[in-house]
Amino acid sequence: MKRLTSLAWEIWLPLVLIILWLVLSAGSKSFYFPPLAKILETVNQLWFFDGIVENMLPSLLRILTGFGLALLVGVIGGVLLGLLPRFEEAIRPLLEFLRSTPGVALLPIAIIFLGIGDGMKVFMIALASMWPILLNTIDGVRSVEPVLLRMASSYRIPLKDKVRFIYIPNAAPQIFAGARVALAIAAVVMVVTEMVGSPGGIGYFILDSQRTFKVLNMWSGIVMLGVLGYLLNFGFRLVEARVLDWHNKKNA
């Protein structure tokens, strides 16, 4: 019952907005802003399920691979840099510089070297979304309670156990905070790289529809992009709730 009320509380505003959009756009004669009802009809025709297989799955695969790589490199790199403060100090300016450069700015170079295929897309997604994970992991590793480290050395806990049972769990809340930002960046970069890249994928579909004046298709792609983003975030929250169970309960 409690879950039901909280679900209702969460869903009422989106529902109102959708209904408002439905009603207000119902009589629209504008070429660029077709009625929502027609957009949804197109979504149903185009996307279930041919469009999903043709365009949504490739996008999903790219973002998951890119984001996964970003997680892997960000966490491993973050732990290493967190444990080597002198080294990290030396390369900090470089990291800050690279991080401040908008990821998509490197797109032209990436296209020269990697082409317009999946390699380039995944690389760009991983590169752009790695920074918040990397930097948050460094901070999380640094913030381990000194008493805990004294405890660990007094019990002669080896480094690999310290990393696995002390440093990474300690950094986990910050890693997740970084990963949440990273996921949003990954979605943006995914769409952008697909728009400039080879066919296949929601981003390409949206831009291609716009260029060929299939405005309804374009809108349906945007709707599906929203759905994809929502699902990714939902999945992320599920994993986070599981892994950070102790953290959420402790701070409740």
């Binding site: 309670e145 008493v147 805990l148 004294r150 405890m151 050395s153 007094s154 019990y155 002669r156 806990i157 080896p158 156990d161 049972f165 002390i166 769990p169 300690n170 986990a172 102790w246 953290h247 309960k249 402790k250």
Partner: protein
């Protein structure tokens, strides 16, 4: 108070059961000398309490004993081997139970973690950890997170972790300083019970004179600054002690007074004669 000035109080006659030998230990940070010239021998199976005024470098001394920091001069040796890093036969219980336990691991996993490198078999590790947790009375709380327990219970987890490690000697750094008086008494009795049951050697640092006298076979009284040994007192209070009756005995009151005076005396040597004995409880 007359027999309190024995500068090398630790030089007890050489015994075969010498476990931890501290010789001329000194520690300085730059020009600042924290530990003077400390020599003391911890016998196997004894309960030694180190008591001193606050700021007397008690924690620094304990960290030197444990090999967590290296002394500037002198040596610490455990069973004849010079301590340069934390030895495998030693466990430490820290004051900050809430910070020395991992909040992301269950009570059981907290106790099991230090056993990973020595005991490869997980079932074996779990068995050892469970035995220690039963010993400290936490059998029904092993699946909880430490922060779901009270302060006293959290410190029991830390004690269980030390026991499961099966050390020859346990060092405790003001372990009961941040719990309430009732819990403190319970934990003191638990520690005494464990020492008698398991025959482990315990070195406990405290600023609480009553606690030191109540727990110890021998009390090492420190003075500052820099920290040096003022006295080493045998308590002769027996193995069975009780919070109420032991503390009501004449011997307890005398010991308490003696330690109290020595701590003041160590602080301000010139005015020592005028210090009135505090009323014994």
């Amino acid at each position: 108070m007359n027999n309190s000035q024995t500068p090398l109080a630790g030089r007890v006659p050489a015994q075969t059961d010498e476990l931890l030998v501290v010789e001329n230990l000194g520690k300085s940070y730059g020009d600042h000398q924290v530990l003077g010239d400390i020599s003391v021998t911890v016998r196997s199976g004894e309960f030694m309490c180190i008591v001193g005024p606050s700021g007397a470098g008690k924690t620094t001394l304990l960290q030197c004993l444990s090999g967590l920091i290296n002394p500037t001069s002198g040596t610490v040796s455990l069973r004849g081997k010079v301590v340069t890093e934390p030895p495998a036969e030693m466990a430490i219980v820290f004051q900050d139970y809430s910070r020395s336990l991992m909040p992301w691991l269950s009570v059981l996993d907290n106790v099991m973690l230090p056993l990973r490198s020595a005991t490869k078999d997980k079932a074996e590790r779990k068995k050892k950890a469970m035995e220690a947790l039963i010993e400290v009375g936490l059998k029904d709380h092993v699946e909880k997170y430490p922060w779901q327990l009270s302060g006293g219970m959290q410190q029991r987890v830390a004690i269980a972790r030390a026991l499961a490690y099966a050390p020859a000697i346990v060092l405790m750094d003001e372990p009961f300083a941040s719990v309430d008086a009732q819990t403190r008494g319970d934990l003191e009795d638990l520690t005494l019970k464990l020492k008698n049951h398991l025959g482990i050697t315990i070195v406990l640092v405290t600023h609480d004179i009553d606690e030191a006298v109540y727990l110890a076979d021998r009390v090492l009284v420190l003075g500052n600054k820099p920290t040096q040994v003022v006295d080493l007192i045998e308590t002769h209070l027996g193995t069975e002690r009780d919070q109420i009756s032991t503390k009501a005995t004449r011997e307890f009151a005398q010991l308490r007074t003696r330690v109290y005076q020595e701590i003041r005396h160590g602080d301000i040597p010139s005015s020592a004669g005028s210090v009135a004995a505090p009323a014994a409880s």
